[in-house]
Symmetry: C2
Subunit: 529 residues, 2 copies
């Protein structure tokens, strides 16, 4: 395995022109890990984007098979990094081995799924309207449309998924699939992991004969590196997963550029859960156990962590709470990703504790030293939570707030007042669902995904997944950052009027050489014309 | 025909609570037209958006057939307004009868085309990934995705297409098709036309038993009315066609809201035309005549007006220029839409005249009194235009600038330096196109539509049209405002995980009751499951 350099990866070279360096810290013992990582300079960032711009003009033209092979080769090179990747990642994140091995598998599967989409080819939404020279009063031209890549994309790695939403994660995979070069700003909590993954991507790029600049990695702990990237005129779109503060700052900067660009920022949410009466009556214990597992999964550091649980009062509510409290008291405290994240979590918990009307139901009782977090459950009456919107905000970590309700109308009113979230969950019987049909209708306007009788913390990577939702869950509610529809973020339609066959892209040629689905004169088919 | 009230149309009632009024002016004689139009008040705007929010919860659920009928009924009611609509529109815009009758036909066809898309139903991009309870290590959930309407949409009518891009124009038709209620801010240059069309829409809404608030019209001459609309929390998206200044102001306001919302602003462009050597050699005269007709069409008040014409020097260039100048000298001066637009045009022309290196090739020689505009052709060397970016900006009206070039590389460099435009046009032989393959590749990154051997001023309404392009042509380069793909602007994906059949929307039910195309486990088909 290649050792760590701590340098930037600009095109096919490394670079370390900066003066400032930083180290990764092991959250398990707060000790520095070896290797000095250099902060990228403005000059290095400009080099990376200039390379990316140049690479774009050829990468956007490569054929589907070559692009698919690139994605698959990245997946293989990730695996080829072997245990060194898992070990470094464990050191940088304190996430356990099975979780990281699973996450590596998911990352590889994402890349392979996008490869299959690219190879199949119909994702370009080809549309053809044929000419009618005899139409009166004016002849009808031949018009053909397809999606084309936007240009170089800046991707900001997330802290909480150091593989699946970082250097070779979903944003990078979907941007490559679209035909866009990528520059990743590595997350400063796992720079070594980032560098290893960057090496894998670059190895794949070379093996696939792709142009220099199709991928670069810049590292940095300061806001300056990210802002320089977003403000660079060669960058045409931004993918981000992280905090509201970080995502909103990038969104604002991107909108204030001379040429505004789209920012796809997934900024997390509180993911409300609705426990309906029939479900409580039939399986209060199972629901309590499920919730206890879900809100502490990954030390509560999931974007889809259930942080608000609406609980109608019934004869089964007490049993639910008792089971939940008991599970939680004996639950294991996990190590959070960093001291900063742990401090922010503690602050959030203190704010909940000191909020009028909020009481603690339970906390885990193990030793929570260092960056270990106590698993916390609070409760409050629904009117308290309705009146104090701050209680609906995300506390990033293993905490959840039970919202005690009595009447159905109260619950619907609560739902109507929700801001945008990534997910909402309904636990209920089919009868509950009929009784609460309006709840589904309300939640459709509030979230990207509605889960029935499950927990939101698993995000299936597939064609149908929506990992997104109205602001403030994301800055781009019309998109998803997980699943194959994520590719749509990095393209725009271009149409060709009265072009001769040989000058048209293959996807739009009469003969349909790619054998893709196309909307021809309003009818979907795979015919040649 | 109903007479004009000058009132707002809020839900199913009219309202005139404002103190201020304005009158429409006939651009042909600068005289006021009858009827005082009231400026909408903030209270009226809030009423309209509250109605729209309420209407949304039922309108978003109506079935495809009812929605299609609504769109078709609007088309029929437009026609039923009869000659009164055409006459009032002629008085307010000075556009000739055949143009407005044609535009009414186009407006009706747009509505009917969206009706056909809605009735067919596949536009919702339904995606289904079926469960696999036996998958290891984790069972796979059932996940289903489709597009859902965003909510109430604010539409700003354009001055230059008083029917096709105004009250019942493309933005309104596509928002309705998506399932979004619409509030139109009528353009102050044609308030009577706006009111008549609003009456037609409301008649259709009532005939189709749609909820009050599915449509409202507010009028106003001031910026305040538009800003109040965009800042209203019930508004979830904005459609706009007009000036850069107006569109950018709405975009900035929308991004600074507590909940930012998308603004689809089409802000016009200069639509560069490239005359390649082979085309000049084979048909210089025809090209000159075509260009003379295109840049003066609709008094040059088309968003796709060709305002920059790159002209390589050859033995045929002189002939092209001579023919163009001769056509232009005898061309008729048209009346512009308003005194303000005429003044802005004159200012733009004066700035061109006084720019170093710019010379006049020709101007029309008729009498240009009142709001009539002189048809103007200028020329400059390509290096002048490269160095002075102001020369590439739109002069709204019948003016065009010939860009004299000598070498191919110079032309490619010019293309690389272009900002975003709605269209680019290439006139050439197939051999030219091979020789200039790189030009096509560059223009793909700069515009929404590339026209070969035609003129950009006709915008075909069809499935494949892209009327959009990179900033500053639009604020939303990933969308089109003409053609059926315009519907995508007003929806976002929602996914349903592990939902029972009866709680799923029809588009996602196993039985596929709508018989639409769906991506099932990655395969496109119309099967029931």
């Amino acid at each position: 395995m290649a050792s760590l350099t701590g340098h930037q990866f600009i095109g096919f070279s490394t670079s370390a022109k900066g003066k400032d360096t930083f180290k990764a810290i092991n959250p398990a013992n707060s000790e520095n890990l070896p290797t000095d990582f250099f902060e990228a300079t403005e000059e290095e960032i400009q080099q990376a984007t200039a390379f990316a711009k140049k690479a774009y003009s050829s990468f956007k033209q490569i054929d589907n098979e070559q692009k698919a092979l690139f994605l698959e080769t990245i997946a293989n090179e990730l695996l080829a990094l072997g245990d060194a990747l898992i070990e470094r990642c464990m050191e940088e994140t304190a996430l356990p081995r099975p979780r990281l091995e699973g996450e590596r598998g998911r990352t590889m599967n994402q890349l392979k799924l996008f490869a299959s989409v690219v190879r199949e080819g119909s994702w370009v939404d080809a549309r053809i309207d044929r000419a009618d020279p005899d139409r009166v009063p004016l002849p009808k031209p031949d018009v053909r449309q397809m999606q084309r890549p936007l240009g170089p994309v800046a991707v900001f790695g997330a802290s909480n998924f150091p593989l699946a939403f970082s250097v070779a994660g979903g944003d990078t995979a979907s941007a490559f699939a679209a035909g866009c070069p990528v520059i990743v700003k590595g997350h400063p909590l796992h720079p070594g992991t980032s560098e290893l993954v960057a090496q894998a991507i670059l190895k794949a790029a070379k093996a696939c004969n792709l142009p220099e600049g199709v991928f670069s990695l810049v590292q940095g702990k300061t806001i300056a590196v990210g802002m320089a990237l977003v403000n660079d005129p060669n960058i045409k779109a931004v993918g981000f997963t992280g905090s509201y503060r970080g995502g909103k700052a990038l969104f604002d900067a991107a909108n204030q550029r001379p040429e505004p660009i789209p920012v796809y920022a997934e900024m997390g949410s509180t993911n409300p859960v609705f426990m309906l009466p029939g479900a409580l009556a039939s399986k209060a214990e199972a629901l309590a156990k499920g919730l206890a597992g879900s809100f502490t999964l990954g030390v509560g550091q999931f974007c889809t962590n259930p942080g608000l649980v609406v609980l109608p009062s019934s004869e089964h509510t007490d049993q639910f709470k008792k089971t939940l409290a008991a599970c939680n008291e004996t639950s294991a405290e996990g190590i959070m990703l960093s001291q900063g994240i742990k401090s922010a979590f503690n602050l959030g918990v203190e704010q909940l504790k000191s909020s009028p009307g909020v009481t603690e139901l339970s906390h885990s009782t193990g030793v929570a030293e260092g960056n270990k977090a106590v698993n916390q459950i609070f409760e409050a009456h629904i009117t308290t939570v309705l009146q104090n919107k701050a209680l609906q905000e995300e506390v990033f970590g293993p905490a959840t707030l039970l919202v005690n309700a009595s009447a159905k109308e109260e619950i619907l009113q609560f739902a109507r007042g929700l801001e945008g979230h990534l997910t909402a969950t309904i636990h209920g019987t089919e009868e509950d669902l009929r009784e609460y049909a309006e709840l589904v209708s309300i939640l459709e306007e509030k979230v990207g995904r509605i889960v029935f009788n499950g927990f939101p913390t698993g995000v299936e990577v597939c064609h149908s997944m929506v990992h997104g939702g109205p602001f403030p869950a994301t800055t781009a509610p019309q998109t998803t950052s997980v699943g194959t529809a994520a590719i749509k973020r990095f393209v725009r339609p271009v149409c060709y009027q009265d072009f001769p066959q040989e000058a048209l892209p293959d996807a739009l040629k009469d003969s349909n050489p790619l054998n893709i689905w196309r909307l021809v004169d309003g009818t979907l088919n795979r015919n040649s014309l």
